[in-house]
Amino acid sequence: MTAGGVVGAIARAPLRRALRRAALPLLAALHACGPEPAPAPPAGDASSAAPSAAAPTAPALAKPDLTHVAEEPLRVAIEAAWQRVVREPQVLAAWVDYGTLLATHDWRVDAAAAFERAEALEPQEFRWPYLQGVLLATRDVEKALAAVERALRLDDGYAPAHVSRGKLLRDLSRYADARACFEKATALDARNLDAWLALGQLSLEERAPEAAEAALRKALALQAKHPEVNSALAAACFALKRKEEAERYAKAARDYAAKLAPDDPRAALSAPPITAGDYTDAAIARMQQGRSAEAEALLLQALALDRKSAVAWGNLARLQLARGDTQSAEQSLLEATALVPTATTLRSLARLRHGRGKASEAIDHLRAAAALDRDDIELARELGGWLLEASRFAEAADAFGAVLAARPQERDAMTQLGKALRGLAAEQVRAARPAEAAATLRRALAAAPTQVDHERQLALLLATCPDDAVRNGAEALRLAQHASAGRTDEPEMLDALAAAQAETGDFDAAVATIRQALALVRAAKNRAGIDLYESRLQRYRAAKPLRLAPDGTALP
């Protein structure tokens, strides 16, 4: 197996980020070695196997505890790498493979010890002590510093190593030494963003905001959206009393951070996967790069290893959707949501099914998504819209009620709630529950006070309901007058007003109003309207108020 043969990739690990930031070029170079590194001379050949004066004596290594390792391929890989170092302790590549495998699976201390063995076997190679420094930086600052300094004694031309050393020195309060390291790094490589950033951050800590700003602007020129650069610039500008500028940089930092998924693709390593998680992470990295076909193949491999990976199913569905295979996507999303019902996958499934005409199932999924993420108001809004579309008015009203609970002033939600309630009221009228309908219409009116249609409906109901307990002519007249004010060209408004006038006993007014409505429908040659309003006219001339049955027909 080559040095890079068994490196797993799990993107979320902090180590992965550290490796990428600090040592990835080295690790990549290590992978790029291609053929197996030349085996070290057999034991006893002191000329090359003995550690240099500066290199430590390699310690005896204990095998990592594999008790909790759940994935068989990983356990096998580690076991094999371990057996090899036991069998061939003088073979450099065995230690390098072993250390790399451990490093990428977060056994940092063990990995550092493996590279220490590599260093003992190849004491002139810069990479082995440098990798130890990277691995130990978050565990043992002093030991990490010693390792990086050994590396720099071998080759002091690598700017990232100076940055690493500077950061460790800074952590040990050796600020002047740290500054010298960062300056050396910028001298070696003026395009090293980390060096400029570190210099800027150090200046900030030393209460020198002008110097910080100068260094940070160099970093910003290299990468304008870098979140750490932006946040440090925000702090520098704040200290320089340029608050608006500070806010602008802070916003850039926040916006950029908000866009990063938890499994930050910046941290991805391109290395052969081993476990289902590795395949999934590799696939996600390909998706970020727009390499969809490769990503899909990797996800299928992940699922071949572990069919219970909801992440793999979810991402597979995204890819299938993107290439228009809605049937497969639906199946993948069903698998994903059965394993781990997240709001995101449930919403995707809902939209997919909605698009395929499965309204009822889509609503169920979206409702489940909304229940999982009650803070996501857009989910509640979308659910409300679909329910309204499906004439499920009561549920729609609940959904828009949830939107308004979170955003009480939102006009669109008020309007939608009003529509839902009006639909519900119509259902209640049809079900001969006029009192409930009146209450619902009052809620609709409260939700959307500017919607005159709600006023008109309520006026009509209060004026024409056969139930004496519901009818209220005075309120009906007030509502109808308000609704029809300025709308005398709308026959429906005039009809409601006439009904209210009749209910209050003012039949002359009712006759006059319904005549106006009749004139409008005659002008529009609306036959049904003409018949309806003529019958109303006869009724009001006979001093009979209008009574409407639940189905909307006039009672005798």
């Binding site: 797993g8 799990i10 979320r12 690990a13 990592p64 594999l66 008790t67 909790h68 390792v69 759940a70 994935e71 990983l74 990428t104 699976h105 977060d106 056994w107 978050t138 565990r139 043992d140 600052v141 002093e142 950061k167 800074r170 952590d171 040990l172 309060s173 570190a198 951050q201 900030l204 800590e205 209460r207 905001p209 979140p227 750490e228 946040s231 440090a232 925000a234 702090a235 500008c237 704040f238 200290a239 608050k243 500070a246 806010e247 940089y249 802070a250 930092a253 926040r254 951070a257 938890p262 998680g277 394993l339 781990v340 019902p341 997240t342 709001a343 999982l372 993420d373 803070d375 955003r407």
Partner: protein, 583 residues
């Protein structure tokens, strides 16, 4: 002091401890005064340095105080994030008898998340022992316990209690007769149903009553399974879930609250844990600092018009010196370097240092962790509760930190829990301040029991439990027992304990400055800081060799600034808003 507790009755206790400080109209406690100068001299203790030989600073008195101290047989964890995060502890005088009682928040055992886990209220007895009075006091919230806030929300002179839970929160109003009533719905907290962590009472709008800030963690889903890099099952981190928006509950008067978050501009998401409310910007209005796990911390700057602006990045308190957000848990607040500016301390997950943000007039805050000597100690530790306190009364703020991992690592040699839990166990830290804001970690010989065992500790509260003028500690664990640690540190000075009162209640957030012995010290009356815990809100001053106090200045939460006469040291005093000389 150790020998005080051993005596059975109050009279003996007072006698044995000596009469202490000078008399005064508002003296509450007249105990605890050792022959301070002689003791300090004996130990050769100079200001800002550790005595060459010393009694360990803290002694575990859990068992002696009548509290259960046995860890018992611990069930294995189920890898539900909730079971590794809480709960907290509160030190409060619920019955108004002048001493500190203890409220122990509790979580269900692993695998029994839906079973009730009633809290326990421990009442301090005159002999220093504690008795479980939960049932009699009707303060035994059964929820999945996390944080706790203590404050008098209705200005009736007794403290009310807000219990933050994973699930429905609960508010208990004090009846003033030693009992509480669950008043959650009537107080307006009926809708508080999420994962609430730290909670803090403070007067956000300076209208004279206490509002409440509540941090929320994540939208936890039990079904999410997480694994380590090596594929072993592990507790999920917050990034596996959706972070949440914190809540500001506005007191509308009389202890009736309304969720005012949206109107106040509290809208940024974060996995909120520790909270501290204080005037971090120096404009007289209380701000809110929230430690977020795996994300930038929030500094909600109070604009004085009812709204807040998240300004953490600009003011240097959101990310560490490398510009990285950290996995933050607890918050400590205090002036550690004597420059009269507030500094912030944030505990973080392993592989990240705990971070000390020094208050700076121009920058807001600066991460000065290396300068403070912190970077050598805590990389491998996961910190939760933390508190600044002057352990040896020498006039500077020392630091207590409780630790315990959230993911498994090599078993610490001091771990004695159970096979499943030992990989999470870590010892606590005690750091001594050199007087200029640089800290030295105390080993077991110096730190005592507090740093001597490895456990999974979460909550930390401080208060003078035995009324002897130094601050003692209470800690909480997800599974293990509550622990009380008595301060037995050799004394290097005198002390003053200041209760600041607005009307009948503690003036939470009052900013107290004492001038004594040629220097001015700044301390806050804060109950809410650390991690999901509530401390004694009195401002505690170690005064070094100052034998009298020149003056005391209080900046009240209302904005009023008053000066009070100084006087004798080694006493607990009470200052009332409106009774000082206006400044």
């Amino acid at each position: 002091m150790r020998r005080c507790l051993a005596l059975p009755i109050a009279a003996s206790l007072l006698f044995a401890c000596g009469e202490g400080g000078a008399s005064g109209g508002r003296d509450l406690v007249a105990s605890g005064s050792e022959p301070v100068g002689a003791r300090a001299s004996e130990n050769g203790k100079a200001h800002g340095s550790l005595p060459p030989t010393a009694t360990p600073a803290f002694t575990d008195i859990t068992l002696a105080a009548g509290l259960p101290s046995d860890v018992g047989v611990l069930p294995d964890g189920t890898f539900a994030l909730t079971e590794i995060m809480g709960p907290g502890v509160a030190l409060l005088d619920y019955d108004g008898d002048g001493d500190l009682d203890v409220l122990e928040r509790r979580c269900p055992l692993p695998g029994k998340a839906r079973e009730p886990a009633p809290d326990r209220l421990w009442q301090r007895q005159p002999d220093g022992r504690y008795v479980d009075v939960s049932a009699a006091a009707k303060l035994a919230d059964p929820g999945y316990g996390m944080g706790v806030a203590v404050g008098d929300v209705d200005d009736d002179g007794d403290v009310d209690v807000y219990c933050a839970n994973y699930g429905r929160d609960a508010f208990y109003r004090n009846n003033g007769d030693g009992t509480f009533v669950d008043d959650t719905a009537a107080a307006g907290f009926g809708a508080a149903d999420s994962w609430t962590c730290a909670v803090a009472f403070f007067d956000a709008d300076r209208d004279g009553d206490l509002d409440l800030f509540a941090s929320h963690y994540v939208q936890f889903q039990e079904s999410v399974v997480c694994r380590r890099q090596d594929s072993a099952r592990e507790y999920c981190g917050p990034l596996s879930f959706t972070p949440t928006v914190d809540t500001l509950w506005r007191n509308q008067g009389g202890g009736r609250f309304v969720d005012d978050s949206a109107r106040s501009g509290i809208d940024a998401r974060g996995a909120g844990l520790g909270v501290a409310c204080a005037d971090f910007t120096g404009d007289g209005w209380p701000d809110v600092y929230v430690a977020n796990d795996a994300g930038a911390n929030h500094l909600w700057v109070n604009r004085g018009d009812g709204t807040f602006l998240e300004d953490g990045l600009e003011r240097g308190a959101a990310v560490n010196r490398f510009g990285k957000p950290e996995g933050s848990m607890g918050v400590g607040v205090g002036d550690v370097d004597g420059d009269l500016l507030l500094d912030l301390f944030v505990t973080n997950i392993e592989e990240e240092n705990n971070t000390l943000y020094a208050g700076d007039a121009a920058h807001g805050f600066l991460d000065v962790t290396p300068r403070a000597g912190m970077t050598r100690h805590d990389l491998g530790f996961t910190g939760f509760g933390c508190a600044f306190l002057d352990v040896e009364l020498d006039g500077d703020l020392d630091l207590a930190v409780v630790n315990g991992r959230v993911r498994r690592s090599a078993v610490h040699p001091l771990a004695r829990l159970a096979p499943f839990w030992n990989p999470f166990a870590e010892p606590n830290f005690l750091f001594f301040n050199d007087g200029k804001g640089a800290f030295t970690r105390a080993e077991v010989e110096r730190g005592g029991d507090f740093v001597a065992r490895a456990e999974i500790t979460r909550g930390l509260a401080i208060g003078d439990l035995d009324g002897d003028g130094d601050l003692d500690l209470a800690t909480s664990q997800p599974l293990g027992p509550l622990r009380l640690y008595r301060n037995d540190a050799p004394r290097a000075g005198h002390w003053l304990l200041v209760r600041a009162r607005t009307g009948k209640r503690d003036a939470l957030g009052a900013d107290v400055r004492v001038t004594a012995g040629g220097r001015t010290l700044r301390r806050l009356c804060l109950a809410a800081f650390s991690y999901v815990s509530s401390s004694d809100p009195r401002a505690h001053f170690g005064l070094g060799d100052a034998t009298s106090c020149d003056s005391i200045e209080v900046l009240w939460p209302s904005g009023r600034r008053e000066r009070f006469a100084g006087g004798a040291v080694d006493r607990a005093i009470e200052l009332v808003e409106g009774e000082g000389a206006a400044q």
